[in-house]
Symmetry: C2
Subunit: 331 residues, 2 copies
């Protein structure tokens, strides 16, 4: 196996977030499921945008946020995802490049627009996402560059890719290239609703081909259709070599066969917006893991990055995570 | 004079801000004058955008920010300004409407794009703006709606309009309509460089036609080409019925003929980004003034709104200013 030139390559939907505040009544009146990601169509996103309050635009996308986080830790990372050559596509490309992520996926021309997600943040800091995928799933025609996958220690895939056939095909293509190159494959389950839509395929992947799994409590319980967190943990521990399960303020649990490590959440003065909490948690963990840190250190880096991201609006780090980690004496 | 249906109508450049952080060395290496607004062309903005770090996009524009602030205080306000029917134009329109500002200016089609400003925020919170005006100055062809001007107690104009002939013509057109309707005209000097470009015309306006002037210390000193703040204050007091001069953390000074009122700045835990400080100061003052509050109350509302805006990124209020004012017992 040749020397890896990337710690991680992330593959996912390339999205610009349109983030605004609302109250719970707004979610109810628009029939939105709090804390989840719903896919919506072009006409629906226009209607919801017209109804929502003042917003800011921030580059997003689950795996892209993770890559941005890894770059902010100082890691070498690449992202594969599709945007159009429009205003939002240029914003997305700029922001990934500016933070130091290698991003070479060709922009589409003249077809569907760049994906966008209306992110509604309630006063408790919880985010509810309404995503119009636009051109994002079109990951065919050479978007998956084998050379990049082969050059990365870890290929990190978001579960959201399963929601569209072309993106799912890209997912499988990438994970096969990684495995054939002797590299590791990491998967994020993304969203409990997403797990519900693709449970059997996710289970099959986790049992055959995923080296490292990220999920939150709700997702892992949905995966095994159980109400018992302990039950779900026992089963994923059986199915997967290494699983990291987040539980919000209750911290996280690293399940590595015989080893079981509980990691505390970092204290946060005020949870402003949880958008990207899981993505940045994964960033911290992957950064440590790719650099052969002990698992508990990976967990602490993960918690630190998650704490930074929920303390402000948007899912891209405002602080330099490398400096934060150094300040905390981790790494 | 008929009953006014708006407290204030603002007229100004319609801009989306692209806000990112940088250090002082970045400003120096790009020959940017810290704390000021520079106009740049399309090719220059692309170059600077490519060089700058991760950014967020937030609706801006000086007078538009002021209108958004007045609406957040619960005031009735309208805005006149030109965007194109592109992504940034739709963002700008949405955000003004969502906060409650009446905004009916027709969007342009197929010509220049919506204006944008690269706002570079240094670690001290100071902002340096680099604005590509695009379609914004095209305020001809009926953009200035006499009915809206006549229906507003105060017509509020930003000095930045003087930087382009069509916009300057619109400025004069609007102020004449307001005066003829027996309404008041308020002017913000916008920027010391802008004052330097248009000193004689600004002086003429202030002496003949402006009822209420907003300026900061640097702008008022530039206007009278003096290094002495006291000298500048004495002269503007002579030239203008009512002038409000801001001095950052040192508070502000209301000059109303014989009356001279000093207003403290509200304490701010951390100055995150000064973008919009003057705009929101004007919002608070105009809201009080249009509702016949005593001048010192107008000043306190102004300071409160400025304090809110500098405590976060972007020049549009995140908190509801009406609630903040009620919490402070002002109004």
């Amino acid at each position: 196996m040749s020397e890896a030139s990337f710690d991680t390559v992330g593959i996912g939907n390339a999205i610009v977030d349109i983030i605004g505040r609302c109250d719970d009544a707004f979610l109810d009146s628009h029939d939105l499921s709090k804390g989840h990601m719903q896919l919506i169509e072009a006409d629906e996103i226009d209607k919801l945008y017209n109804a929502m309050g003042t917003a800011i635009e921030v580059s997003g996308g689950s795996a892209a946020n993770t890559c941005a986080g890894i770059a902010s830790f100082g890691g070498d990372t690449a992202f594969i995802g599709k945007v159009s050559d429009d205003e939002f596509g240029r914003i997305f490309s700029h922001d990934l490049g500016a933070i130091g992520v290698t991003y070479r996926t060709e922009r589409a021309n003249g077809g569907l627009p760049t994906a966008r997600s209306l992110v509604l943040v309630t006063p408790d800091g919880e985010r509810t996402m309404n995503t119009y995928l636009g051109v994002s799933p079109e990951l065919d025609h050479g978007a998956i560059d084998p050379a990049v996958i082969q050059a990365a220690k870890i290929t990190y895939l978001e579960g959201y890719l399963f929601d569209r056939p072309e993106a799912k095909a890209a997912f499988h293509q990438a994970s096969k290239i990684a495995a054939a190159a002797g590299r590791q494959v990491a998967l994020s389950l993304s969203d409990a609703f997403c797990v519900d839509r693709h449970r059997d395929e996710f289970l099959d992947l986790i049992r055959n081909g995923v080296d490292l799994l990220f999920a939150n409590e709700e997702e892992i319980c949905s995966l095994y259709e159980t109400g018992s967190f302990d039950d779900a943990c026992g089963r994923v521990d059986n199915d997967c070599r290494l699983a990291v399960i987040t539980r919000g303020a209750a911290g996280s649990l690293i399940l590595a066969g015989d080893e079981k490590i509980a990691v505390d959440a970092y204290p946060v003065a005020k949870v402003v917006d949880t958008t990207g909490a899981g993505d940045l948690f994964a960033a911290g963990f992957l950064h440590g893991y790719a650099n052969d840190k002990p698992l508990d250190t990976c967990g602490r880096l993960a918690s630190l990055a998650a704490a930074e991201i929920i303390s402000h609006m948007g899912a891209r780090p405002e602080a330099t995570l490398a400096a934060l980690a150094a300040g905390e004496g981790i790494g």
